[in-house]
């Protein structure tokens, strides 16, 4: 079976771009078979045989019940990369969506924001303390990270706003 491994970095707020990329790979006959940190393992399949999706799901929230629900609906768990879980489903088994209404998609974005906010604040605090207490420290790295995460939070907020706008009319 033909295999290939690619290394790629996606920011948390670009998880939809990550999914698009994985879907495109699958359309071209390379289906996700496993994940590692910033590492994607693919196997050769028929073009468009599978659909791939990912979800932010903290380990504590991945229950046996959720796994069996996913399995029963025909989805295969491909793997976990820290707080993100990847699934694939054969296209002949029907359309593949993890969320079927706006509310759950908004909640998903909320969960991602929450984590990013915590990390941003932590970095901000560490960065400020280091910069002012320890001369020549790398506190600026933390501050750069905090700024980057703040940008990311802005991007997620934008996505949320778009969904919430639609939510006024539809579910």
């Amino acid at each position: 079976m033909e295999r290939k491994t690619l290394r790629k970095w996606f920011w948390a707020w670009n998880f939809d771009k990550e999914e698009e990329w994985l879907e495109e790979m699958a359309r071209n006959g390379w289906t996700l078979d496993g994940v590692g940190f910033c590492t994607y393992h693919f196997i050769r399949t028929e073009p468009g045989e599978y659909s791939v999706r990912l979800q932010y799901l903290p380990i504590a929230e991945e229950s046996g019940e959720y796994s069996s629900l996913m399995e029963e609906s025909g989805a295969q768990r491909v793997g976990r990369m820290v707080q993100w879980v990847y699934y694939r489903k054969k296209t002949v088994d029907g359309s593949f969506e993890l969320f079927s209404d706006l509310d759950s998609r908004i909640m998903h974005l909320d969960k991602i924001s929450r984590l990013m906010l915590i990390i941003a604040i932590l970095n901000l605090v560490i960065g400020v303390i280091n910069s002012f207490h320890t001369p020549g420290s790398l506190g600026w790295v933390n501050l750069v990270l905090a700024s980057l995460l703040t940008y990311g939070l802005g991007r997620i907020h934008g996505k949320k706003e778009a969904l919430e706008k639609e939510r006024r009319f539809r579910e």
């Binding site: 979800q55 046996g64 019940e65 959720y66 796994s67 069996s68 629900l69 996913m70 029963e72 609906s73 989805a75 359309s95 969506e97 993890l98 969320f99 079927s100 209404d101 509310d103 759950s104 909640m107 998903h108 579910e171």
Partner: protein, 106 residues
């Protein structure tokens, strides 16, 4: 909370499916069947909704059969009441829609 606030479609179908006890996947199937394929509850959405509905006391989880990963749910009395109220709201919606839009054909 205003008890006459509309339910979302997902909520309505989940509650309706649980008129008889079901596993999560059973709810997905019943909903798809009842809506003739139009409403498809995704696993991520359903899982979150089931937990939220349990918190609200509209459904309860039944005791799990030994070692089974699949949990079964059923409607509570409160949930049944909510469902009935919603049905009345929908009846009025349909009646009004019919009378306004189908007036010409009468």
């Amino acid at each position: 909370m205003n008890e006459s606030m509309a339910l979302t479609e997902s909520t309505y179908y989940i509650l309706l499916s649980l008129y008889t006890p079901q596993h999560g996947y059973g709810i997905m199937q019943k909903t798809e069947q009842m809506s003739e394929g139009r409403v498809r509850l995704a696993a991520g959405t359903l899982y979150g909704a089931l937990n939220a509905l349990c918190d609200k006391g509209w459904i309860i989880q039944l005791p799990v059969a030994d070692g089974s990963r699949k949990k079964e749910y059923k409607l509570t009395e409160k949930g049944l009441k909510v469902l009935s109220t919603e049905l009345e709201r929908l009846r009025q919606l349909v009646a009004n829609g019919d009378s306004v839009l189908n007036k010409e054909e009468a």
